[in-house]
């Protein structure tokens, strides 16, 4: 089976000279749920921002068989649905409908298709009936669901989630985990929440100081207390 995302020898240095990630190499298979764990500053978010070309490091990234380049950024961004840590960054329209419709309208779909996509995405995150609401007035858990819907409306093959459970109360967190378990897309999830990782991801990458120091099945990575302690996760 062909990988839907393949990252080869990826390195990135911030303009101020700080080395953020080095020699990153991994693949994501269709439908696979892959977690990236690591302490603050390990390079998880920087890595995620490369998946849809927001950051442009050295090395190569293949998404759905295409090498990520400036000319196919638009197509890659439809395939890689990026869900940011803070949903407020992602929700900027006066209504939920307009926020979810942003991607399909930008893709140039007709009005009917856009409406269908919005309904489909709202249904997928169990938020039917919220289309006319103002995103600003939603609860944290609801905002998170809508943020996921804003990328589902582009029918992505890979969901990239940065700290999805950050700032959620226990119920909203549990409901989010159940939702992510339901969604059929492949996922790359950066998180500190090891319980979420245990329940969602079949494979886990452990990062430290910008490098992947361990890549194994989740049970094996999270079951190794010494490994987690040495890499700032326990």
């Amino acid at each position: 089976m062909e990988a839907i995302a393949e990252i080869k020898d990826l390195s990135y240095t911030y303009p101020d000279g700080t080395r953020a990630i080095s020699d990153i190499h991994f693949r994501v298979m269709p439908g696979e749920k892959l977690a990236v764990v690591g302490a603050n500053g390990a390079g998880k978010s920087t890595l995620l921002l490369h998946l849809n070309g927001v950051l442009d490091g050295k090395g190569s990234i293949f998404i759905n068989g295409m090498e990520l380049a400036k000319k196919n950024l638009g197509v890659v961004r439809a395939f890689v649905g990026m869900v940011f840590q803070n949903p407020d960054d992602q929700l900027f329209s006066p209504t939920v409908f307009e926020d979810i419709a942003y991607g399909p309208i930008h893709q140039g779909f007709s009005r009917e298709t856009v409406r269908e996509r919005v309904e489909e995405a709202l249904c997928a995150v169990h938020m039917n009936g919220f289309a006319a609401r103002n995103p600003y007035h939603l609860s944290g858990g609801e905002k998170k669901r809508i943020a996921i819907a804003t990328v589902l409306s582009m029918r992505p093959g890979l969901l990239v989630l940065d700290e999805p459970s950050a700032g959620l109360d226990p119920r909203a967190r549990r409901e989010l985990i159940e939702l992510l378990q339901e969604l059929p897309q492949a996922m790359l999830i950066a998180s500190h929440d090891l319980d979420l990782v245990r329940r969602l991801a079949s494979r886990t990458l452990l990062m430290n100081a910008g490098r992947i120091v361990h890549d194994d099945v989740t049970a094996s990575v999270l079951g190794d207390e010494k490994l987690l302690f040495e890499n700032g996760m326990a």
């Binding site: 927001v54 638009g74 961004r77 940011f84 407020d88 960054d89 900027f92 991607g103 140039g108």
Partner: protein, 248 residues
């Protein structure tokens, strides 16, 4: 150099430059020489200074009508059936204003680039600038970067969803739709800034903020720099006098 000395020189420079009459070319050259010397002494890149000083451009253009509304002698330009009066004195005045504006902005840019912001705000306080004004400037400077970070994150999230379909060339939405989205982003940013400012203010109050930012330590101005003040101001005044005598 001590921020207070730099600030005094900058203020006196700005007053002398802007009180110099129009068409005082020798004085402008001398003022420019001083600005170049300051930039060289501060090891600032000319490219960066020129780029930042472009902010003066819209203000310069505001003076452009002087060319067509200035006093006689005028040259009549024929544009089809229309006639346009082109005033030589007006042109001189426009060029003088443009030079003065550009030099003023350039001086402010050099001061900003060569001085730490905290040193500059402390210098303003020690030179008895109104405390409220300094507090507003300081907080504005600090939270400008917070807002810029918020804008960057929102733009990043937006561009992540600015997608296209393979083989489809149309897309990107209409201009009206994009304007609406940008308007929505601006509104959202305003609300977030408002909320953020409330949180910041609550945290400031909880740390004992009473309306004044704590002033930094006051160090005396080094004697060698104090001795520079009077001759420096006299040089600026002398250039102003040259300008007064040579200007129109």
């Amino acid at each position: 150099m001590d921020a207070r000395v730099k600030l005094v020189f900058t203020l006196v420079f700005l007053v002398c430059l802007n009180l110099t009459p129009s068409a005082a070319w020798p004085a402008y050259i001398l003022f420019l020489a001083l600005v170049i010397s300051a930039a060289l002494a501060a090891h600032l890149s000319p490219g960066l200074l020129l780029k930042r000083s472009l902010i003066a451009l819209p203000f310069m253009l505001a003076a452009l009508p002087l060319v067509f509304t200035g006093p006689a002698p005028t040259i009549i330009l024929h544009l089809g059936k229309q006639e346009l009066l082109f005033s030589i004195t007006g042109l001189e005045r426009f060029i003088s204003i443009a030079i003065k504006m550009w030099l003023s902005v350039l001086t402010a840019v050099i001061l900003g680039a060569a001085t730490r912001f905290s040193a500059l705000s402390n210098a303003l306080l020690q030179l008895k600038a109104p405390r409220l004004l300094v507090t507003v400037i300081t907080l504005m400077w600090r939270y400008l970067f917070v807002i810029i970070e918020e804008v960057t994150r929102m733009q990043r999230a937006r561009s992540s969803r600015s997608a296209s379909v393979p083989g489809r060339h149309r897309g990107g939405g209409s201009v009206w739709w994009r304007a609406r989205v940008t308007g929505g982003m601006a509104g959202s940013l305003f609300l977030r800034a408002l909320e953020r400012s409330d949180r910041v203010y609550a945290s400031m109050l909880s740390r004992g903020y009473s309306g004044d930012l704590p002033a930094g330590y006051v160090y005396p101005i080094p004697k060698s720099q104090k001795r520079l003040l009077l001759p420096g101001i006299l040089v600026l005044f002398l250039i102003f006098v040259i300008g007064f005598l040579s200007g129109g």
